[in-house]
Every structure is written in C-alpha cells, then in structure tokens.
Symmetry: C2
C-alpha cells in the first residue's frame, strides 16, 4: 500500500477527474458538461482522465433526481420542409426505440422563435435537445448556452455553428455540391447558374464578398456555395456574379432569376439548385421560355424525392441521408444522456448523387 488515499467508493466525481487531469474543477466541469470554452489541449487531458477513471456524466440520472422526463426536445427550422420532416422521423424512430418521447418545435427560420422554443423546452424539462439552429455566430447563441448551463445536453443537427463547441451531425454539403457541379462541367458546361445564393439584395461582385455574405447566413447554404466555387476552381472556370441568384429564397424568385440567367447574352446552359423549391422554380422558368431539359439546359438539384423520379425526363438529384441524419443525432444525444462524455465532435455523413436524365452536353449554339 502506498500512502495514496484510497479512492472513495461510488462513481468518480468531476473533482476527481479534474485532479487526475491536473486542471481546475471549473475546466473539468465545462469540458464534461459540454459548455463554455476549453482549450483543445486541456480538453484532451480532461477527456483522457475521464476515460481512465470511468467517469459517466449521466445527465439522465441528474434529471431523474428531479423527476424522470425521458423526453427529447427537437427544434428545426421548418417542419414543412421534407428534409426536416425526414430528419425528425429518424430522430423519433431512434428515440422511441430507446424509450424516449420527442417534442418537436418549428421556428420557420426565425431566431426569436428559436429562442422562445429553447425556453419552452427548458420549461418542459426535456432531458436533452437537438437543434437545427438559425444562429450563425457568437452573438446569437446565448439561448443554447442557457440550455447547457441548466445541464441540458444539446446536439446540433444539419447545421454546424462554429462558435459553439458541441457535438454536431451534419451532411457533407460542400463535397455534395462540388460533385454535382463537377458532373455538369464534365458534361461540357461552363455557364452554370447557382440557385440559390445568400439572401442579400445585390449579387456581390467578387467571390470574396460572396463568401463573406454566405458566411453571415446558414451554414448549409454557405457550404453548398463553397462546393460550387470549388468545382469551378478545379476546372479553371472564372466565377461570374451574374450566374448566382441572391435575394429571398422563394420559388417565385428562383423562377425570375433563372429567367434572367437564360436571357443573358451568354446564357446559363446548366443549373445547380440547392433546394426543392429552387428546382421547381427553375423548371417553371425553363418551361416558360419553351426550352426543354436536358437538351437546352441541364439541371441538378437538392433533395431527391419521389416526384423527381417520375418527372419526364427524370431528374438527377442529390439525395441526403435524412433518416440516418436524424437517427445518428438522436444516438449521439442519447449516448450522452446515458453517460457518454460529450466529445464535441462533428459527425459528417455523405450525400449521394442519384444520376438520372437531366444532364446532357450544352447545345451547340445556346
């Protein structure tokens, strides 16, 4: 026996983890609780110590002491979007299989509704939250910090928020967009419209300004724009602001903007659409000009649906693994509730290009 004090019985505490890691208790608590800033180096030390001692956060046991809830709260941007409907289905299926109920709130992309929704879920004593946040930077995440401070674990879904160190499950939007645009370029296109870009009033003249504008908005949108620019870069095609739609993200606007791009002296011969409404809006413009696809104009869009497959010709679309996105997110959160230490990782799932018949070489004289 050394002079070392024997470990008291019972599960290891945060203080013991802190001592093992050689850090202050506050640092260990922040790391293990998943809130506040901790430098990557200290974080690694705390996580290693937690693993060594077999520390289990057990947020659920914490919540059980104040009454079992067994409820997850889910905040999505728009439950009317089939994408989020599929994600919610994945969350519900997985949490139900692990005996959790799911409360869903939809914010319709308004940050004030997201803040209200977070407060409702705190008030309703959910055990954990999944959020597809409209927050983009440090100034807009205080409601998420509030939840974390109350000891409610949060996992982000679909949209990473760079100023928050949290577990997040997302799709590789940038690579999916790059692959789609590359497919159009390989078919011979050089005039490729991007529907839709950031919701600013006027198209930024330079690609730097365009990326800056995108960074002030939704993470997914910014990633898809970067993927578009990546593909142009790889092929040495210069960026042309006239081929990027900006403004409100509504179907009518997509129709107007595609009509404009099809009327340019050097018109667009291909369209890359980042949402379903952008696809249908673009198709309306193509029809209105009495053009047909893929003969006169090629098209690839997000997200695949039963409709895209029965169009004539059927559309080449990007399919996001929506159910898997939801179920993986629920798994990460439920693991934390059942004792796993949040590692603040970004889990990235791959989208898949479903090749059908909406891509062809550009017409000889467009």
């Amino acid at each position: 026996m050394s002079g070392e004090r024997p470990r008291p019985s019972g599960p290891p505490t945060i203080s013991e983890v802190a001592a093992e890691a050689g850090v202050g208790r506050a640092t260990a608590a922040r790391t293990l609780g998943g809130y506040g800033h901790v430098s990557p180096e200290l974080k690694e030390r705390v996580l290693a110590a937690a693993e060594k001692l077999g520390y289990r956060a057990n947020a659920l046991a914490r919540s059980m002491s104040t009454g079992v809830s067994h409820t997850l709260g889910v905040i999505v941007a728009d439950i009317g979007n089939p994408f989020f409907a599929g994600v919610v289905r994945g969350i519900c299926d997985t949490s139900r299989a692990r005996s959790f109920d799911t409360l869903v709130l939809s914010t319709y992309e308004k940050l004030d509704e997201e803040i209200a929704a977070t407060n409702v879920l705190i008030d309703k004593r959910v055990d954990g939250m999944i959020i597809a946040s409209a927050a983009v930077d440090r100034s807009t995440v205080s409601h998420i910090r509030t939840a974390l401070d109350r000891g409610i674990p949060v996992v982000l879904v679909d949209r990473a928020v760079s100023s928050l160190e949290l577990d997040a499950v997302v799709i590789d939007n940038r690579e999916a967009a790059r692959e789609a645009v590359e497919t159009l370029i390989t078919a011979g296109h050089r005039r490729i419209g991007f529907i839709w870009g950031p919701p600013v009033e006027k198209a930024p003249a330079t690609r730097r300004e365009l990326i800056a504008a995108a960074s002030r908005n939704l993470w997914t949108d910014g990633e898809r724009l970067r993927g578009y620019l990546d593909a142009l870069d790889d092929a040495g095609i210069p960026f042309d602001p006239e081929l990027v739609m900006v403004g409100p993200k509504v179907e009518e606007r997509a129709t107007q903007e595609v009509a404009r791009m099809l009327a340019l002296p050097q018109r667009a011969t291909a369209l890359f659409c980042t949402e379903n409404d952008a696809v249908t809006g673009a198709l309306r413009a193509v029809k209105a000009r009495k053009l047909s696809y893929p003969r006169d104009v090629s098209l690839i869009g997000f997200d695949d649906s039963a409709w895209a497959a029965v169009m004539d010709p059927p559309l080449t679309m990007i399919e996001q693994p929506v159910h898997q996105l939801g179920s993986k997110t629920a798994e990460v959160l439920l693991d934390i509730l059942e004792g796993a230490v949040p590692r603040h990782e970004r889990h990235t799932l791959r989208a898949r290009l479903i090749v059908r018949s909406s891509v062809a070489p550009p017409p000889a004289s467009p």
Copy 2:
C-alpha cells in the same frame, strides 16, 4: 325588488348555469367541459343558460392557477406528410400570434404512439390539444377521454371520430373526391381506378363490404372512397372491385396495382389517387407500360404541390386548404381556452380542384 336572491358577485359558476338550465350540476359540467355524453336537448339548454349568464369556461384561468403554460400540444399522424406539415404550420402561425407555443408529436399512424403522445402532453401540462387521431371507434378513444377528464380541451383536426363529441375541423373529402371523379366521368371515362382503398388483404367483392372495410380505417380514406362511389352512382356506372386498390398504402404497391389495372382486358383509362405517394406510384406504372398521360390514361390526385405544377404535362390536382385547416383548428381551441364554451361542432372546409392538363377523353381503343 322581487324576493329573488341577488346573484353573488363574480363570474357565474357551473352550478348557477345548471340551476338556470334546470339540469344537474354534473350534466352542466359535462356539457361545459366538453366531455362525456349529454343528450342534444339537455346540451342545448345548458348552452343557452351559459350564454344567458355570460358563463366563461376559462380553461386557461384554470391552468394558470397551477402555473401558466401557454402551450398547445399537437399530435399528428405523420409530420413527414406535406399535408400535415402544412397543417402544423397553420396551427403554429395562429397560436404564435396569440402568444402560445406549440409542441408537436408525430405518431406515424400507430395508435400506441398516439396514446403515449397524449400522456406526454398531459405530463407536460399543455393547456389544450389538437389531435389528428388514428382512433376510429369507441374502443380506441380512451386516451382522448383521459385528457378531457383532466380538464384539457381537445379539438380534432382533419379526422372526425364519430364516437367522440368534440369540436373537429375537417376537409370535405367526400365532396372533393366526388367532384374529381365526376370530372373524369364528364371527360368520357367509365373505367376509373381508385388508388388507394382500405388496407385489407383482398378487395371486397361488394360495395357494401368495401364501405364496411373503409369504415374500420381512417375517416378521410373512407370519405374519399364514398365520394368515388357517389360519382359512379350519379353516372350509373357499376362499381368494379378490380378497379379498387387494397393493401398496404405504399408507393410500390400503388405501382403494382396500377400496372394490374392497366393490364385488365377492359383496362382502366383513368386513375383517381388519394395521396401523393399514390400519384407518383401510379405515374411509375404508366411510364413502365410506355403509356403517356393524358393521351392513354387520365389522372387526378390529392394533394396539390409545386411538383405537380411543373410536371409535363402538369397534373390536375385537389388542393386542400392545409394552412387554413391548421389555423382554424387553433382558433377553435384557443377560443375555448379563452372562455368560449365548446359547442362540439364539426367545421368543414372545402378543397379545390386545380384543373391543369392530366385529364383528356379516353383513347378510342384502350
């Protein structure tokens, strides 16, 4: 002054309403609380007395005494169905405007999940509930009675449940279906497929058995089937069980069944599809047989969407007022919470046939 005892100050009580109506207190409480059975005649007397005395149920004041909630609970069959997504949007917009938050639970058409969801919402102390119920008869509504017994008002949306005397806001599915099928008959069709019917294994041989099978399932589905039969009756066209799809309501099944109907000696020349997945499933079968619409086969479906409008040719579809359905339901519930006496009315909204280009006369020799 007569010898009448002066009315005590303060709002009238249930006992005073009962005395005014000349009924027992329990009857008045059941009528004003919206639970249990009360004969139509007594109900009218209680409601008249309540109106005369200016009785306000004020369920909200009741809930405020145990802590303000200002939350509505919504239980829908499948949030992944664009129809319900639109309804939820309508509910959220209206309740938000009246300072209520909305918690949504999706049951994916499973009655046990609906029961669990109701218990979760009772547990989370919502002020009122909106339910699109999978319950069809007296044996399956005890969870809804439980909510009512706890003093939580319930309004049904989209699906009436005949064994429950509750306010319900629904679409006139029967008339919408009748009108659509009449449109096909007017164009000259007599062989009209119905996609999809009740989820039974084998097509009932008689129309009586068919209606009985439909009655054991969803109210909306039964109403649409009745509308189909109404239109056939009006035109003197005999019902043919070979033209009614039965079985699981999935896209693949619709494709198989439409393929079968298109291969009959006297094949179907028109299709009436009661859901989006039935429409896309039917279109796959039409394509697979190298037929085109509306030349070889006409088609009308539920529910209109942006995709239906960009199909080539665009589809004639039934548009349900989904947002209005949600907002009207929220209004009825919020009015009850704010003091209106539940009148247990069925509010019926009209659907609209959006005529596009998927209906033509049948081919000369189909």
